[in-house]
Subunit: 101 residues, 2 copies
Amino acid sequence: MTEKLSDTARSTMVEPLLETGWALTEGRDAIEKTFKFDDFTEAMGFMMRAAIWAEKWNHHPEWSNVYSRVSVCLTTHDVDGLSQLDVKLARKMDKLAGQPG
Amino acid sequence: MTEKLSDTARSTMVEPLLETGWALTEGRDAIEKTFKFDDFTEAMGFMMRAAIWAEKWNHHPEWSNVYSRVSVCLTTHDVDGLSQLDVKLARKMDKLAGQPG
């Protein structure tokens, strides 16, 4: 079962993400990050790799791309807020982007 | 040379796009459309196919994805408005999405 993150889980799981460039979204219980790549093909490569994991875990991001940048927003609609799935996908995206996670 | 579309070109090239679901963007000389697919994998497949053409033509969209939807905005930064490249990419996207174009 997917559940909304407890306060304890937020301290242990979400706070470390804030140190890798993720931020809490204003007005929503969600996290967001803009990944910057060298060019468009790198950005698309990241999106495709992340998309495969998103589909595998049945947890999909809201995201946008402008040339070499990919902006991601993660939240879990089923619980109307952050769940462990968001943390898991955020960590995976950090790894796929070659950034500390 | 890429040039901003003339009034004549807008009549002959942009107006037909408005009949396939494209719309003029408010406050910018740009066009936009939201493509709807059956699911996330179809949406990602469309994005990857369109991305290859965008890179090939060195003309990149501003676009976002939420599950089965892909919202696209096309404009040409070099001319600060619509050019033939936007029309070309819009038509290609319509074809890739299997929608009349």
